[in-house]
Subunit: 295 residues, 4 copies
């Protein structure tokens, strides 16, 4: 029985007894695997880019082409999205299933693999046949039945950290996936609740300390997402550079052709040009750190 203490920090006894599959076997143990030809593992930092919401076929194809040629490894985009309130726009209601289809079309069109969120068991067949990686969002990190059902598809899974969750909670959730025999689990830090976030428009605080902390105890790759963390476009490039330099095993960013007109989260996406020049710099930082950044 689990008498464990979810709000607390990790101790060594925990690591061995509570997450045998997620924990490292030795200091140099890091998972290496490939997804749609993209390598994950130490010294790799693939880039996930795209809009918050898959607004239309045209938009997502345009983004796919433009991020691919600027260095992105994966196209990201939300078709099914958990919304804080139950009232959805018309646009959202008409997107969902079609959004998945548009993502697939964009994937073929630009020859780039895709990642999208899954938030309900009943959509697993649809999403898992379409998406190269299944993304579990921050609100569902501890939705264990969903984790188990997704794990059984054997598709790679990106597990976003719950915004109030500890590293220990997070690894516990990863263990739910690993125990089903699904070994391609990718962690993603996307900002946490904290006393101060520095702007009233900022939701969360990017926690980069969790990157070396995770890499000390788990072999799973850990991706960082500065866009959702800071929720403020002008800060994204600086934070993205820090994400690479700290040793992230992947980087996720929101990119939109006209960020201010984005259907969701218009304050946080960066445009193609900013993305392009940023990736050039990220690759140089990667070189300094012995990390391959982007495609």
């Amino acid at each position: 029985m689990d008498n464990s203490n979810p709000g607390k920090d990790i101790s060594l006894e925990d690591i061995k007894s509570k997450f045998p599959l997620a924990s490292k076997k030795n200091d140099n143990h890091f998972s290496e695997f490939s997804v749609a030809g993209v390598q994950f593992g130490p010294n790799k930092c693939p880039i996930f880019a795209g809009p918050n919401m898959v607004e239309s076929e045209e938009l997502i194809k345009d983004v796919a082409i433009n991020i691919k040629k600027r260095g992105a490894s994966f196209l990201r985009g939300g078709a099914f999205k958990p919304l804080t309130f139950p009232y959805r726009s018309e646009k959202y209601n008409e997107t969902r299933e079609r959004g998945i289809e548009w993502m697939q079309l964009a994937s073929s069109y630009a020859d780039i693999p895709i990642i999208t969120e899954i938030m309900e068991e009943r959509y697993i067949p649809l999403v898992s046949q379409a998406s190269d990686i299944l993304q579990i969002g921050t609100r569902n990190m501890q939705n264990y039945p969903l984790l188990t059902a997704c794990a059984k598809t054997k598709k790679p899974i990106m597990l976003k950290r719950g915004f109030g969750c500890s590293l220990r909670d997070w690894l516990g959730a990863a263990e739910y996936i690993l125990v089903e025999g699904n070994e391609r689990v990718i962690l993603c830090e996307r900002g946490i609740v904290a006393p101060h976030t520095h702007r009233s428009s900022s939701r969360f605080l990017l926690d980069l300390q969790v990157v070396p902390a995770a890499q000390e105890v788990t072999h799973l790759p850990i991706v960082t997402d500065p866009s959702h963390a800071c929720f403020w476009r002008p800060w994204v490039p600086s934070l993205a550079k820090a994400c690479v330099a700290v040793g992230s095993n992947g980087l996720m960013m929101e990119v939109h052709p006209k960020p201010k007109e984005a259907a969701v989260d218009p304050l946080q996406a960066i445009d193609y040009e900013t993305f392009g020049s940023l990736v050039i710099q990220l690759k140089e930082i990667g070189k300094a750190c012995n990390i391959d950044v982007g495609n």
Copy 2:
């Protein structure tokens, strides 16, 4: 489309536009309803008591009788439980469905209504026919498909606050239930993540400020749970008194005949005697505050 900011505090515009059903229509608007003969609403503070886990038929019957005669309004107990790690004890695995049955037997035996957690859609028929209130746990507060599915049963629902969630996130989740036409929604504060919790064995910090904050903007009753918040038996009586005095619309506490031998969370449950003398004091505090406490 929801461009809202889940990590942030509530403003008045939010209240009106984002949660039309959860928000108060005027200052004196508070929901009043009855569940299995127990009244919820202003000036009512029913007590929910019982063990963390429904360990056996004998145990749960013994608890039911003993808390009822000491003033409890509802028997609480976990049959299906979300565990931070996927490894379950034998005891847990053999409990689940049988735990629900034992709860029902205890309910009839002691003539006391029951509340238990539901964490998977597929168990909704089983749990909703057995339990007087469906409890949504802290990890599932933003599992919107589960909320919607539970809402459709028309059973009363207790929605525990996510340990990293704002009042705004919480009311958004409540709105998902209300929008299905299910009006008997009960909020439950059970402790939040915070920089300091005062003991390394304490998980969370009890947030009593959220009680007047919630009562200012929503008509829904708000229950408080000091046991899960502080996770430390010696503090529970003091905090329970504060919960009543602050104006909680219900109080939930873990009670076990032999707390140190409890299968789960042995540090936090109080015994019958402590519960009994505490309830006497809580009723007196309630009298001073014009609140009916317990049965």
Copy 3:
């Protein structure tokens, strides 16, 4: 040498080795002492009331008379105040020394002892001859030279908790006073930084869990201040009731004849009438909890 870990929770080894004077000698060890005829100790809850700022002689005299007759034990009021920014109003600049004088006049006039903040060593002679208790504000909790200098006056000291400080940090600061042979130390919880405070106008989160946590390890009385914590008038009465019920050894509240016209913090003070009817209720709650509330 102190290799201690200021951000962390308390363990038993800490208690004995790090704060020998602040720690309890046994479970029932609680300090009892008197200040200007007011008793501090278990089962006592004196009330400290008054405006944020000592605006004028007339105001403070009026407050003194009005709170005394409604049950306050001490008149509180700020003459010297730490301001987040260096730009002070004319009113503030002309108050300071005169504010202390006005407090003394009000004390004699209404026959009520006073407490006011000291924030600079050079004002210790002035403030310590005038005030019955020296208050150390939240920003100065770890200003150790100031603590030591105040301790040497042998005046009773109220040590407000730093808004980011742990119980351990706080007891460490108290130990700086105790080690000078000054035994009349009163702790005061006044709200902490936390991820969510529920209103954009709320500064801090009232931490009532720290009351039983402190009483478990230290013999020092602990006062609570709901006004500064929540910074929102409508929540103060509910929180004040919780402060008494949780077992606070004193209660501090801002009271002003016309709260909305208060020179500082006009959102948080309550008026005479609210204070008067609240104290009546607090005394009844105290009775239920075996605590003497107010004068």
Copy 4:
């Protein structure tokens, strides 16, 4: 009068009205100044390195020589130190004034400027004649009389962020120095209190989001200190790389010849070799980001 809300985020009105001297006049406004020949400003990242405590003349001279030749710009070391508890080791008591003297000797010996903490007004003459920069520690960030007294010396001042303080609180404190006509103010982020720090031995969470946040509103240089933030040696190199990449205007790290034998904080210092190879990498990252790192 300051009715401001210290726990809250920054708004644009605040910037203009509350910190006229700390705020930027336009988007490209960044202070540039020199301290002992070291340049501060955009695209500069001097390195501050040295032990937590100035343990002996031999130690500090050895550190000075070794960090200088590996790229450090300043020697840091604590002579006067705020300790959480009043009980000091013999070593500490005999160090204080002599520590300042040893720092000066090491400075001359290795030809490197120094920075050390000042925590009491009475030591200002001693410390300000010796140290090239006066450091205000996290606990004293809001000790306004100390800030004012240090400001009057016209020595450059490094203002460490209070571990519970917002950016707004911090800039308010900087304004206290600037208003005295002292323009060489350096901010230093050193970790904040947060719900999760990932190890029970970690004190704080490094907040790198505050770097772009600060650079958006203030012209003052902002230094980051990963050692005190994470308190765990193995994480320091990763975090230091992120500190440079995010655009810090300086980097502070604890370096000790034999970290495990350090008199204070033996878990966090790195050794000469680690420091040396880290600086090489930091310089390359700096090149990628157009930032001059180290001397």
